[in-house]
Amino acid sequence: MYQPMLFLHWKQIRAALLPLVVAAFALPLLSVQGLGSLGSFPAEPIGAYQFMMNSGWWAPVFPTLAAVIGVTLALSSWNWDHQLNHVYALSLPVPRWRYAALKMGAGVVLAFVPALAFWGGAHLAAASVALPPGLHAYPNALAVRFLFSVLVSYAVLFAMAAGTVRTTLVLVTALFVFMLVGGSANEFLGRHFEYFQRVNVVEAFFQTLVSRNGPFEVFSGSWLLIDV
């Protein structure tokens, strides 16, 4: 049952996944371009600080790509079932939780494809640069972080997409309303309560999500391939 489900998901996503896999492989390589290769070390060796500044420019791109891959995987999981009004899926003799688990599992396995490409790209990138003294490459740690980020965004979107389009719209709208109204409400409350002058609720909310122990913590923190 699992194998055909995996095949189905693969057929659904392969066209969209291919460019993302290429990007996952290429991004680590791009992030070390111009930092001096092993074969052609620059006449003026780049210092550790400059080296980190250059490669650090790419740091936000990695989690963004991971999120895009996770979202693509999740939306493709349910896309066909939504189009078919779930009639075919509901006529299959499996409990619904098991059907959802099979779908989820197929997506998890497929998440390893871009993660492996990223891991390969990161290793190749790390091997192709001459590191200044004091700096180290962390291709494995970065690839693991990349994989977790893909899985987190996949899991969140998978859960949202598993519901009806209406449920998803309600959730997304609620979030936007919170962002829009929350800022103004905070300003209004700030005029009356000192607490709201110090704390911005919207900012605090998003900070909690990405801070340590928050559900999206994996997206924040260090995304450097080369670090001290």
Binding site: Q3, P4, L8
Partner: protein, 303 residues
């Protein structure tokens, strides 16, 4: 277990415009049950509730002796379902879709699936998105039959198909039933199509089951009769008068469409002072139309 499907007191409200009202229906084991009704009468909704795809507001559903929704996976493992509209994955080929479907059904008959594929003229390498409606219909039937179901639920399986494909589909169903004695619930608004194959018939209209009886009784029991000197209010008639019209040019003669007719009822006309002039058999379609007319709000008496 005497019933393949048993619904009692099923009710569901979609909105102000449509609801299912107190549907009690019984599909006997081994029968081919024709589920008739105009478009939008509630056939598909009832079928989806039988298969646990929708939840009724009230009532009980038992399929193959098991409870819906409690025993749903066990029920669905024994039910071959052909939905109203093609619900298969368009990017797969025929062979891929068959393989995917087979992985969910334990008693999958690989040999018969191949035989059916040949018999129905399906190309295993063909992509579903490029298939015609007729070909997709055949594929859905192949999927339903190859899982060797005890119950086939066919929701408008031949709607929009050309006569040749329609015959192929119905022949395949009849062959399977002849071989396995499976029960069939087949919904359609194409009345003449069901006339030849069904043992039982249930008629839906506007969310209610307005008749359920053996096909022979339905066909033989509905007659068009010509009556002269009929009483104005024939309250004690032993049959149901579905419609009553004045015959053209003869004011004293009326044409009645009656249900539940038996030859022994001729005597009633003599006792009520009327004269029975003629009895005409109606085919299923005419009977169906008259039944629907009689179940709908009464229009003024036509003269």
């Amino acid at each position: 277990m005497n019933s393949a499907i048993e619904l009692s007191g099923l009710g569901w409200r979609a909105d102000r415009a449509f609801s299912l009202r107190d549907i009690s229906l019984r599909v006997p084991v081994g029968s081919i049950y024709g589920f008739l009704g105009p478009n939008g009468s509630g056939k598909t909704t009832t079928i989806r509730m039988c298969l646990g795809m929708m939840k009724p507001d009230r009532g009980e559903i038992r399929v193959l002796g098991l409870d819906v929704p409690r025993d749903l996976p066990r029920i669905l493992a024994k039910v071959g379902y052909v939905p109203e509209r093609p619900h298969v994955y368009p990017a797969l080929t025929v062979a891929e879709q068959v393989r995917y479907h087979a992985s969910f059904f334990k008693p999958w008959d690989e040999g018969w699936a191949k035989e059916l594929m040949e018999r129905l003229g399906l190309d295993p390498t063909r992509k579903i998105s490029r298939m015609s409606k007729g070909e997709t219909g055949k594929l859905l039937l192949l999927l339903a039959l190859s899982q060797r179901p005890s119950l086939l639920v066919l929701d408008e399986p031949t709607d929009g198909l050309d006569p040749v494909v329609r015959r192929d589909v119905l022949t395949a169903v009849l062959d399977y039933v002849g071989e396995t004695n499976a029960s069939v619930l087949i919904s359609s608004h194409l009345v003449h199509e069901l006339e030849r194959i069904c043992d039982w018939v249930g008629v839906m209209d506007d969310g209610a089951l307005i008749a359920e009886l053996p096909m022979q009784v339905f066909k033989n029991g509905i007659k068009r009769i010509k009556v002269t000197g009929a009483p104005v209010e024939p309250t004690d008639a032993p049959f149901t008068i579905l419609s009553r019209d004045r015959a053209n040019g003869t004011p004293a003669t009326e044409t009645w469409v009656v249900r539940g007719w038996q030859d022994s009822m001729r005597a009633w006309f003599e006792s009520s002072g009327a004269v029975l002039r003629d009895i005409v058999d109606l085919d299923l379609e005419d009977g169906f139309v008259e039944l629907l007319r009689s179940s709908r709000p009464k229009t003024p008496y036509r003269s």
